[in-house]
Amino acid sequence: MSTDDVLLEELPSLSRLYVSAASTAARTKLGALERPLVLPPARHTVEDVRVSLEHVTRFQHLLHGTVRDSLPSVFVHSAAFPVGMSILARTDFPLPLLGMVHLGNRVRHLRSIHFSEPLAITAWADNLAGHYAGTQVDLHVTVSSAGKPVWEGVSTYLAKGVFLPGLDKQTRPPREDFVPPRPTATWRLGPEAGREYAGVSGDFNPIHLSSLSARVLGLKRSIAHGMYLASRVLTSIESVAAEKFEWDIRFAAPVFLPATVAVRIEDEEAGGRWGASCFVGWGERSHRKHFQGTARAL
């Protein structure tokens, strides 16, 4: 498989990507377009991406973080997100973008990134695989500065109900019994939490914006962005974490807004310093697990 490297002139507009994804979906439905069964061997790159200081600040404020000159790890994700989206929104992408579910993330934060650094962002997809509820895919994003990677992330998405020929359908794993541990924090998320995070992340996926728009896409109410949840946890961990660290998060039940999420973050020391943090979030009343993950010094 040869690689098709595409250098984009600028960061794609997320709203335009959503619109074109919608039109692709419509055309597919009408039979005007046929989706391929394999991933496009494409890598999209945008160079010289500048982060707006005001934008970082709004992000830090919303996430109850400290306003610093270095970029929060999840902010880097959202800054790079349009490039990843442009992969998912390609007309030759085998899975429909709209309605895709975020299963999890793995990130290696290789060093502290100053807001003024020009960043090069490259995205590609791989690991198209069967899932008991559909088909999943990994979206890779690498952020580099001065030619060296500073941030590497893999987001795993699920196209629900899409079963591609040639991929084995997985059996649903048995539902684990979740007994909530003692929380170390609670978050009270209002109905506006989705809109607010959309405002700082640029991710205006309608499932996050309002009950109405979420219902159009088949959800009973709007749900919190997975990356918002990740960001709240990471904000708390990054204040104690090492400069180089990796983290991962796996999303379970969605957080329907408004919600009270109970969270437990447990730090582990290594050699007298921060070594790792394990975290889990669940519905304070429902006791359903929403997410789980770890962060670890590199």
């Binding site: 109850h64 609670t186 009270r188 708390s236 943090s277």
Partner: protein, 442 residues
């Protein structure tokens, strides 16, 4: 322990003594003081103190006080209260804030100035109003207002206003939630209480003792020269002299409900939101002697500690459990050496967790680095004139209440038994902090 100096107060440093105290009765929030501001209450506490010791029109070395729930207009709260009081307007003042330890820390800061000879006399105090709490505008509205202020052209102004959303108009009241965890103080304590397996019965018994002790102290006139009634309230509004284990036992848990059966913390064994103010007159021995003022107790030393509670490594209100052993070690004292122990009752569970921790060999070895458990405190020494569960807890005013109460207890004992007793104060505070102190009868 590394930061703990090896020797007690250096030689040549003079004493700072507690002359006396005054406070308003503490009122339940939205009760007798609903219309009184922090400045009003602090002024009343100062005036009562001035009257008790004949300080009208006197210049005091310095007055320090603070409030936890503070309006932005109160940037100079203490100085404004001094100006409104009977003290000489030439008395300087400063504000201090260390959450619920504010009151105790003002005493310690000023005592140190006296010990160093910088001032001869001082008034330490604190005040809080949960009724007249500051209400802030939302972050959204605040951002728009600030931008509007910066805007120069009409167009910029219009652009700023256009950003306003209806939800921005809702006001924001201060919560008691810890900023980094979103958990209220009660929820935090509920977790610690559960972790230490403190029973509901033990908490209710502590609450009952607090009410009984406070009521008895009022009955015997103990507070006649410690409290100046204000706005029609003559005793602490939260005091329930007739409460019982049955009544306390009938209350439903309010904190830690997500813990299920382990929820033990009720409105009866937790302090309510309270309004009130306190003030303590301290001075050098010369100051007291030259004016024939009483010297109740000497302010020996203090220690502050903090714990890492953010990711649950330690309970939010457990810092005193660390501060006390450090202070005891510095003075080579044990609990046996104290006649009175004043542990601020933020919640009954807080006090019981501290006691359990000091009795726990595991805690004392692993967390404090000691060889053995610190020991058990004779319950008859604890909060003998009642504490926050009965009196209430206007955050910054609690330190002053305790210092004055303990100083008087020590003085009474010194007079009746001819013995210079010793007392320990322990106050936990938001942000995982704790301040503890030692007083000694003069």
């Amino acid at each position: 322990m590394a930061s703990t100096p090896a020797s007690p107060a250096a030689e040549g440093i003079r004493k700072a003594v507690v002359v006396g105290g005054n406070r308003t009765p503490f009122a339940r929030a939205n009760g007798a003081y609903a219309q009184a501001s922090n400045q009003d209450m602090l002024t009343a506490a100062l005036d009562g103190l001035v009257a008790r010791f004949g300080l009208a029109d006197e210049r005091i070395g310095e007055v320090a006080a603070g409030a936890v729930l503070k309006h932005s207009r109160d940037f100079n709260l203490t100085r404004e209260a001094v100006l409104g009081s009977a003290l000489a307007p030439t008395t300087p003042a400063y504000d201090l804030q260390q959450a619920c330890a504010t009151g105790l820390e003002t005493v310690m800061g000023l005592a140190n100035k006296i010990k160093l000879g910088q001032i001869e006399s001082a008034i330490a105090g604190g005040v809080d109003s949960a009724s007249d709490a500051p209400i802030a505008v939302s972050e959204g509205l605040r951002a728009v207002l600030l931008e509007l202020n910066r805007a120069k052209t009409l167009k910029q102004k219009a652009a700023a206003v256009a950003k306003l959303r209806p939800k921005d108009l809702a006001p924001v009241a201060p919560g008691t939630a810890e900023p980094r965890t979103g958990l209220s103080m009660g929820e935090h304590q509920a977790l610690t209480t559960a972790a230490w397996e403190i029973s509901r019965a033990a908490q209710d018994e502590l609450a009952l003792a607090s009410h009984r002790n406070l009521a008895a102290a009022y009955e015997r006139g103990f507070f006649d020269d410690l409290v100046t009634p204000y706005r029609g309230l003559t005793r602490d509004g939260n005091l329930r002299a007739d409460t019982s284990l049955e009544k306390l036992g009938a209350l439903q848990p309010v904190f830690g409900r997500s813990l299920g059966d382990k929820a033990t913390m009720t409105a009866g064994n937790s302090t309510p939101l309270t309004d009130g103010a306190s003030a303590v007159l301290i001075g050098s021995e010369d100051f007291a002697r030259s004016r024939d003022l009483p010297m109740l107790a000497s302010i020996v030393d203090a220690e502050a500690a903090a714990v890492d509670f953010v990711h649950g490594k330690e309970g939010l209100l457990m810092a005193p459990a660390y501060a006390v052993p450090r202070l005891l070690a510095r003075h080579q004292l044990t609990f046996e050496d104290f006649d009175f122990i004043e542990i601020h009752e933020a919640f009954a569970g807080t006090v019981l967790c501290h006691l359990s921790a000091w009795e726990s060999e595991e805690f004392c070895r692993n967390k404090l680095g000691l060889d053995a458990a610190l020991g058990k405190i004779d319950p008859s020494k604890i909060n003998v004139a009642g504490s926050s569960l009965a009196a209430g807890h206007p955050f910054a005013a609690t330190g002053g209440r305790i210092v004055a109460t303990l100083a008087k207890l020590l003085h009474e004992q010194a007079v009746s038994e001819g013995r210079r007793g010793r007392g320990l104060i322990s106050v936990c505070a938001a942000g995982g902090m704790g301040v503890v102190a030692i007083l000694e009868a003069c």
